[in-house]
Amino acid sequence: MTTIVEIDDLKKVYDGGFEALKGVSLDIREGEILALLGPNGAGKTTLISTVCGITNATSGSVRVGGHDIVTDFRAARAMIGLVPQEISLEPFETVIRAVRYSRGLFGCKRDDAHIEKVLRDLSLWDKRNAKTMELSGGMKRRVLIAKALSHQPRVLFLDEPTAGVDVELRRDMWKVVAELKASGVTIILTTHYIEEAEAIADRVGVIAKGELLLIEEKTALMARMGRKTLDIELTDPVETIPASLSGYELEIVQDGAALRYSYDTNADRTGITKLLSDLSGAGLQMSDLQTRQSSLEEIFVDLVADNGKEEAA
C-alpha cells in the first residue's frame, strides 16, 4: 500500500520548554483510517497541527504525497483537509458561503456542484442559507467537516471529531467517515473514545507523553495484546480457592458464585482444558461458562500505564 504521509523523527519543543513531540516517526498509508489514541496532553493535536502547518516543528520532517510541508507547503497543504477540535466558525456567515470561502482559500475554482454534494452528504443542504451561529453543536461540527472537504482533499485530519457529540450523531459521523474512506480519502482521527477507534479504524496508534508507543493493525493489536477472561459460574458458591487450583491465579467474583480465569489468546496453550479438569477434581461443579475479550480501551490503559511505570523506573 502506498504511503501518503511520511513523518520522520518529528520533534516539537514549545517556548516554555515543554516537549510535546519527542521524535515521532510514522507512515500513513493511502486510503486507511488511522486512529490516534492518547490521554490529554499526549501530543496528538500537536502532531496534527504540525502536519497541517499550524505549528512549526522544532526538528524532523513531514512529507504529504511526497511534498515536504515546509519547502513545498502549497502542494502538501492542498492535499490536506483539517477538522479542528474546537468548533470555530465565523458566526455571521451562512453555511454555504463559509464552505465556499474554504474552497477559495485552497485556490480552487468555484464548484457549486461539489459544494452541494458535500453539503447533501453531511445533511447540511437544507441549512445552507442559515447563519452558522444558528446551528446546533453537531451541525456546526458538520460544517467544519464540509469546510475541510470543500477542496477535495486526499488526506483528512479529524481532531476529536465526536467530542461532545451525542451517540446518534456520533454514529452518523462514523458513517460519513466510512463513506469518505470508500471514496479514497485517507483519514487520520484523534479520539478519546476507544469505541470509536474500535468501530472504524484500520490501524491504531497510541501516543503518550509525546511518543508514539505503538502503531498496529487494529485487529492484530487486539489479537496480540488482547487477553481473554473465562468466568466459571459455580453451582455452589465458594469462599476460598482450593489449594489444588492455586497455580491458575483464579479470582473470586460474583460473591463467590464464580471464578475468573485470565489467559492469553496467543499462548500455545490456554490451560482451559486442564483447569476444567482440575475444577472437577477439586469437587467444584460448573453451572455456566462465559468468555470475554479485553477491549481496545483496556489495552490502551495498560499500554499507557506500562509506559508510565517504565519512565518512573
Binding site: 514549545y14 455571521f92 485556490g107
Partner: protein
Amino acid sequence: MNLRAVGAIYKVEMARFFRTLAQSFISPVISTSLYFVVFGTAIGSRIDQVEGISYGAFIVPGLIMLTVMTQGISNASFGIYFPKFIGTFYELLSAPINFLEIVVGFAGAAATKALFIGLVILATSAFFVDLTILHPMAMLAFLVLTCISFSLFGFIIGIWARNFEQLQLIPLLVVTPLVFLGGSFYSISMLPPFWQGVSFFNPVVYLISGFRWAFFGTSDVPIGLSLLAIAGFTTLCLAIVWWIFRTGWRIRT
C-alpha cells in the same frame, strides 16, 4: 501566487463591510456633517481664511485623512484579529497560502473600505463647501497610499493584539492624538514657533500637508518631504509585515 485565496479573503472582508453598511456608510457621513456644522459653520464663520482658503474648505483634507487613517487601522486590525479571537485563524494557517497573500487579502479589503469612506466624505463635504482640487491625481495617489499604509499598520496591530483592549490601545493612545495634532483642523504655521518645531516630529503632519497640497497647492512642509514620509511609512509597515512573515511572530507556535 494563490490569487483565488486572496480573492476569497478580500470578498469575505468586503461582505462584512457591506453587511454593516449602515455603520460603514452612514456614520462617516453623519460625523463629517457634524464636523462641518461645528467647525465649518459655527466656529469656522468666526475664523478668517487660512492661507487664502475658507476654513470650511481648509479642513476637508484633514478630515478625510483623519477618517481614512482611523478606518484603515480599525478595519485591518479587526479583520485579522477577529479570526484569531473566534479561532478560525487555523484555516488561514493550514491553507496553501503564504503570509503575503493573507496580508494582501486583509489589508487590501481594509484599504478599499477606507478609500470608499474617504470618497464618501469628500462627496459629503461638497454639500457644505466649495471645493477645488488642483492636483486630482496627486490627491488620489496620496489617498490610496495612506489607505494602504495605514491598513498595513492596522494589520500589524491586529497580529500583535492579544485582546480587544490592545486592539484599541494604539489607535486611541497614539494614532488619534497624532492625527488631531497633525494639522487636520489647522495649519502648523498658526502655532507658536516652539510647537511648530515639535509638530515636525509628528509623521502625520507630512501626510496631511501633502494631501492638502493636492487640494489647494499650499502646504506646511515641502511636497517632496510628504512623499518621502508616506513612502517611508509604507516601507516600514511592509518591513514589519515581512518580518512577521519570516518569523511567524504571534501567528504560529
